[in-house]
């Protein structure tokens, strides 16, 4: 991936926090962690979980709308759980973040050329097409993804699915299992 992100805070509204939590890859861990947020009635805006390069660990990336101090407090509580290896707030840190979106856009014959030209600006790829639609795939930070969606919205969005944000610190994180160079 070649595009470099602006500092994360630019693309974030002030109270949106990007949290990265490294955990033992065991059942029940995710619900325990999300439970710490739901117990305080905080909605999780997005959530991704997957194994790391060490298959016995998983990384949870979570976007939550809450005050920085409260995020800190919840992270300290997350860090008390035996299954947690590390829990950090990446919002203001030097990290890269990406989200992938698949979006089916109405693409009648006469608008296809302009649509493709605009998509090109965002390096969005057409992954499949029908006589009426294009399905685009676009990857980027929240700012880019939102801007792309703004551009295609007037054409008519049929349906879309987003992965939610993943984020990675640029430097080697202290305790994590992702030992490949950034």
């Amino acid at each position: 991936m070649s595009t470099i992100n602006p500092p994360a805070s630019q693309s974030n509204s002030q109270n949106t926090r990007t949290l990265s939590i490294l955990v033992e890859n065991k059942f029940g861990v995710l619900s325990r962690i999300t439970g710490l947020f739901s117990a305080r009635a905080y909605n999780i805006e997005s959530l991704t979980v997957a194994r790391t390069s060490d298959p016995s660990l998983s990384r949870i990336t979570m976007v939550v709308r809450c005050e920085p101090l409260l995020a800190q407090q919840i992270l300290r509580q997350v860090e008390k759980l035996p299954d947690t290896v590390e829990a950090v707030d990446l919002t203001e840190s030097n990290c890269v973040e990406r989200e992938l979106v698949l979006v089916r856009v109405k693409a009648p014959e006469e608008k296809r050329t302009t649509l493709l030209t605009e998509a090109e600006i965002f390096r969005a790829r057409v992954v499949t097409a029908t006589p009426d639609n294009y399905v685009f795939e676009v990857t980027g930070d929240s700012g880019k993804v939102e801007a792309f969606l703004d551009v295609v919205r007037p054409y008519g969005i049929d349906e879309m699915v987003r992965t939610g944000k993943v984020a990675l610190h640029r430097n080697l994180s202290a305790k994590n299992g992702d030992t490949e160079p950034a």
Partner: protein
């Protein structure tokens, strides 16, 4: 018995292989074997379908040791699993060792939820072993199936569901390590019946790994105060004219009571404690200002208002201590905080100086560093002595009815701070906290954070089993006593010399007190004056040979003396003034300056009693 290790996950291992290593055993036998190796001499629990194999394994384990009774694991059967949980908790709170209880699936597990949450809220190390339906049946709404993992998870320190029988042995060992390490807490192991029945090879060693947790525990156990940090602390102390220590339950669970009183005496700093911290400092000590908070001593709360440096040790500014956070310790320009749990630092109050680590070592480091430190706090100490004199606890001594305070004052005079006291929840709990001298740590066992009515009796049973030769007294309320009344029979079944003292005010006194203050004397649901229960007959029916009711004030002392001296289970109901209220009181969500002290304790800035009006609507 094995030494319990507090902070580290891994105990030092003799490298010899285990004498039973390589032996074939059932899962149930492995559970009992590991319990024995963890130093468990008593388990509490109630059997049932899904845990039958493990109960059978206890039976066989003990049958094998008929002639070596001290090696047996004694099984105590309560009337209800909640009782088993509080017995395990009482055992753990009194001894500092991990308490164990074993229950069946479904209702056995759900009945155990309350004590698990109670242990979590008060940081008490227990291990609960739950039977579960066989693995193949999990998730099918099988007979007596309950989603133990799901509902216990947010309530416990950790929960295991044993899916791989090969991991059972290591899981049980790990559960103990997690329960007792760092900030202690309850651990639940859910064991499907087929895993208990499985047969495999016992290894005699091994634990599950939790990389992050182990690393954090290792760091905690090594966490000492740097010279620099000690220096910064003493700079604050040097700048202070009115320092005050606030000690919490962490001093007790961290075995740091000795260090606390040494520290307080060395630097001549007075000490208030939280409810959970009672016993961390001998309450009869000159420097002790006893309990602070909602129903704290007036002088303790005044000292908090006056201090300029608050040194908080193993306490967490709960809302019963700091109801109005912004007004708590308003003159304390400096705040130091030592806690084993990083999540507590700065959670409620912003601190000037803090340290995360075991309190015991931290206090030792500070004392070593401060060897040459001298500062004269005598003016402050004089002020504090005045507060103690002028705002001493007091009550109406003139009534013909028996006042609860008097009962406890008299009891305190008899036992002189040497008993283990448990309590229910309510007014009697607060009076016990206020009027009993508590001279040693682990001597006042009370449900502080959850405040679970029904805790007192089973907790007393657990404490008595941990210390068969000590005097154990349950100071209970009539409402709280009803909650786990079935356990009266457990006391006599095992012939435990527990002393059960019920302060009967014919109802839920604490609730009535709030209804008087905030709900216009509408005693919705809290008046029990029409109830028919004869507690004395109940106790007699359950086999108490000492079962009495006291109504005559003039016979208070002699009755209490006979009650305490009785060589066996004893039950005493004292009919107390139902109108008695707990004072002082800092209303919920209020600051200490709004504390009311009632008619008999001298207040500093008199606020008209009962004129407090409604509490802020969002407080409780």
């Amino acid at each position: 018995m094995k030494q319990e290790r507090k902070y580290e996950m891994t105990a030092p291992q003799e490298q010899k292989s285990h004498p039973l290593a390589g032996r074939r055993m059932t899962g149930a036998e492995m559970i009992i074997q590991v319990l024995a190796e963890e130093g468990v001499d008593t388990v509490f629990g109630y059997t049932g379908g899904a845990i039958l194999p493990t109960y059978d394994a206890i039976f066989l384990y003990n049958a094998d040791r008929q002639d070596r009774r001290h090696e047996q694991i004694q099984l105590i059967v309560p009337a209800n699993e909640q009782g088993a949980g509080f017995m395990a908790a009482g055992y753990a709170r009194a001894s500092g060792k991990v308490g164990v209880f074993i229950v069946t699936s479904g209702p056995g597990a759900t009945n155990s939820l309350t004590p698990i949450r109670d242990c979590m809220a008060d940081s008490v190390p227990v291990v609960l072993i739950c039977g579960q339906v066989a693995r193949a049946a999990i998730g099918t709404d099988a007979f007596q199936e309950a989603p133990v993992f799901n509902f216990m998870s947010p309530c416990a320190k950790h929960v295991f569901l044993v899916e791989e029988p090969e991991e059972l042995e290591a899981t049980v060992r790990t559960a103990f390590a997690i329960a007792r390490s760092g900030r202690p807490g309850p651990v639940v192991i859910d064991v499907p019946k087929d895993v208990q029945n499985w047969e495999g090879v016992f290894r005699g060693e091994g634990k599950l790994h939790f990389r992050g947790y182990e690393q954090r525990m290792l760091e905690l156990s090594r966490s000492r105060l740097s010279e620099e940090s000690c220096g910064a602390f003493f700079e604050l102390l040097a700048r202070s004219e009115r320092p005050l220590i606030c000690a919490g339950g962490g001093i007790i669970s961290g075995d740091a009571a000795g260090q606390l009183s040494e520290f307080a005496k060395r630097f001549e700093i007075p000490v208030v404690t939280t409810l959970m911290g009672i016993g961390s400092m001998d309450t009869t000590d000159e420097l002790s200002l006893h309990m602070l908070g909602m129903h704290g001593m007036a002088y303790a709360n005044y000292a908090v208002m006056d201090c300029d440096f608050l040194i908080t040790l193993g306490a967490r500014f709960d809302d019963r201590v700091a109801g109005k956070v912004q007004e708590f310790a308003p003159k304390a320009k400096m705040l130091a905080h030592i806690d084993i749990d990083a999540a507590e630092i700065g959670k409620v109050k912003t601190v000037t100086w803090s340290h995360v680590g075991p309190a015991r070592e931290a206090l030792e480091d500070l004392m070593r560093h401060g060897e040459g430190f001298r500062k004269d706090f005598s003016a402050w100490l004089e002020h504090v002595r005045d507060l103690k004199r002028q705002h001493a606890r007091n009550y109406n001594r003139e009534t013909s009815t028996i006042q609860p305070h008097q009962v406890l004052e008299c009891l305190s005079g008899i036992v002189k701070g040497e008993a283990i006291v448990t309590t229910g929840v309510g007014q009697h709990q607060m009076w016990a906290a206020q009027y009993l001298d508590i001279r040693h740590p682990r001597s006042l066992l009370t449900s502080g954070s959850m405040a679970t009515m029904g805790f007192g009796l089973p907790a007393a049973i657990g404490a008595q089993l941990a210390f068969p030769d000590r005097l154990v007294i349950d100071v209970d309320g009539d409402g709280s006593m009803r909650m786990n009344l079935g356990e009266l029979e457990t006391v006599t079944t095992y012939n435990l010399p527990v002393k059960v003292l019920v302060l009967n005010n014919r109802g839920d006194g604490m609730v009535r007190q709030w209804q008087k203050l905030y709900f216009g004397n509408r005693f919705s649901g809290s008046d029990k004056s029409l109830r028919q229960k004869d507690f004395v007959k109940t106790a007699e029916a359950d086999g108490f040979r000492f079962a009495r009711r006291l109504t005559d004030k003039s016979r208070l002392e002699e009755t209490l003396e006979e009650f305490i001296a009785f060589g066996g289970p004893a039950f005493l109901e004292v009919m107390i003034d139902p109108e008695a209220c707990v004072y002082p009181m800092v209303g919920p969500g209020m600051g200490y300056k709004e504390m009311i002290t009632g008619d008999f304790i001298v207040g500093r800035n008199p606020v008209d009693d009962l004129s407090m009006g409604a509490p802020p609507s969002d407080s409780f």
